[in-house]
């Protein structure tokens, strides 16, 4: 009762009053929201069900209740403490649920907005006869609510970015397969753009594969690389040098006429690299280095020729 009287007294004086009142007013708000929790929460869940924003569709009634209590309490705690770790954690959790498709972000945001409206209306009812205090209460309430909503939106955003990044990584890894064509011979067909990040990844994958397959020769085919500038060429040189440190010979194939012109014009020295015109030639050279001989059988006898003799 004393707090009410004090708050009422201070709000009457306008101006300086708003600076003094928020603390006590906040406590009162928190107390109100905690006391009338069941009523407000019930109203919220009903409002969501009515508007079709009930994002907890897949949950049982009991789970829905627990979940809504949790959200409600988290929000009130944020209002009480003025710090938002709880909201951040919860928003992150929800965002992950949205990401795996268990929930729609539209519905969840709608639900949060509904919660704001329900609480706002509760305040209107609570302070119906005191417009000044209602105004001050909204002044305390709204920034907190907005902050929570921003946190939720940001969490969705962050989660989506994380997903995109994961997918990009997956695509990158898929895009540079290291293939074994014969015992101790790998081919590395490079397709697309090479930036330093991809070059690093590619080198890493190649070195791992060299160890795994105990490769002696690697044929690196760059037919699918559209543009080779000095940067890309240097990445390729680094890859070749690293493979060589593991004792592997790297043969570069598929240097297109245009690429050859660029490389020479730019002045990159690829003379340390062993180059062959196309992938077929590269594999033939590799076969020779490894001591394989490919012999064509009699086409009449064996339509498919598996004859490789060491």
């Amino acid at each position: 009762m004393t707090t009410t009287a004090k708050a009422r007294g201070s709000t009457g004086r306008n101006g300086s009053s708003t600076a003094a009142s928020p603390g006590t007013l906040k406590e009162e708000l928190v107390a109100y929201l905690r006391r009338d929790r069941e009523e407000l929460r019930g109203e919220w869940v009903r409002a969501m069900a009515a508007s079709g924003d009930l994002w907890l569709d897949s949950l049982t009634a009991r789970e829905q209740e627990l979940e809504s209590v949790k959200i409600y309490n988290t929000c009130v705690d944020c209002l009480d403490s003025g710090s938002y770790p709880g909201a951040e954690e919860f928003a992150g959790q929800m965002a992950r649920r949205v990401a795996v498709g268990a929930m729609s972000s539209e519905r969840f945001l709608g639900g949060m907005l509904t919660l704001r409206d329900v609480c706002g209306r509760g305040l209107f009812r609570r302070f119906a006869k005191e417009p000044d205090r209602l105004n001050a209460a909204l002044g305390v309430f709204e920034p907190v609510v907005n902050r929570i909503l921003v946190i939720v939106a940001m969490a969705f955003n962050t989660e989506r970015e994380r997903l995109v990044r994961l997918q990009q990584e997956a695509i990158r890894e898929l895009s540079t397969p290291v293939l074994q064509v014969r015992d101790r011979l790998l081919i590395l067909p490079i397709i697309g753009l090479i930036d330093s990040e991809r070059a690093r990844q590619l080198t890493e994958q190649l070195l791992d594969a060299i160890r795994r397959f105990r490769a002696r020769v690697v044929v690196m085919d760059i037919t699918g690389v559209a543009a080779v500038d000095s940067k890309v060429a240097n990445h390729l040189i680094q890859t070749v040098d690293a493979a060589r440190l593991l004792g592997t010979i790297v043969i570069l194939t598929g240097v297109s006429p245009a690429t050859a012109q660029t490389i020479v014009t730019v002045g990159v020295d690829l003379s340390r690299m062993q180059t062959v015109g196309d992938l077929q030639g590269g594999i033939e050279v590799a076969d020779r280095l490894l001591g394989y001989r490919v012999i064509a059988g009699d086409p009449g006898e064996a339509p498919i020729v598996p004859a490789t003799v060491a």
Binding site: L207, D208, I210, R216, L245, L246, G247, T248
Partner: protein, 124 residues
């Protein structure tokens, strides 16, 4: 910790077990040169599988070791450089262009065995 040098005629195997101090490297260099002379060996494999760092000093020492041994007609193979070590070395520009490398000890010895040892003045 000094590097043990094993004789596996006609080759020597230096098996690096732990990170090398500068003194260890110098010992390794003189030890190998000395033993290669006494044993009249044809090839040396330095196995660096256990190393997870190769700095410019150790790279340079191994490189000059290879050059010194070559002056005595001994072929040197550095075996077992780890993939991440290779990446780091390349980024530092330590590519050891004149040194023979191999995947591991096995490969290093296989390379030496496959190489015809045509020493000057001695038919093979």
């Amino acid at each position: 910790m000094p590097v043990p040098i094993l004789a596996q005629a006609p080759y020597l195997i230096a098996s690096v077990q732990s990170a090398l101090t500068d003194a260890d490297l110098i010992d390794l260099q003189s030890g190998l040169l000395d033993k290669a002379r006494r044993r009249r060996c044809q090839g040396v494999v330095v196995d660096v599988t256990a190393l997870d760092v190769m700095d410019s000093y150790s790279t340079r020492t191994l490189q000059s070791l290879a050059t010194m041994l070559r002056l005595r007609g001994v072929e040197t193979v550095i075996a077992g450089i780890q993939p991440n070590v290779a990446m780091a070395m390349v980024q530092l520009g330590l590519t050891m262009p004149d040194v023979r490398t191999a995947l591991d000890l096995d490969e290093g010895l296989a390379y030496l065995r496959a190489k015809p040892h045509g020493r000057a003045g001695r038919g093979q």
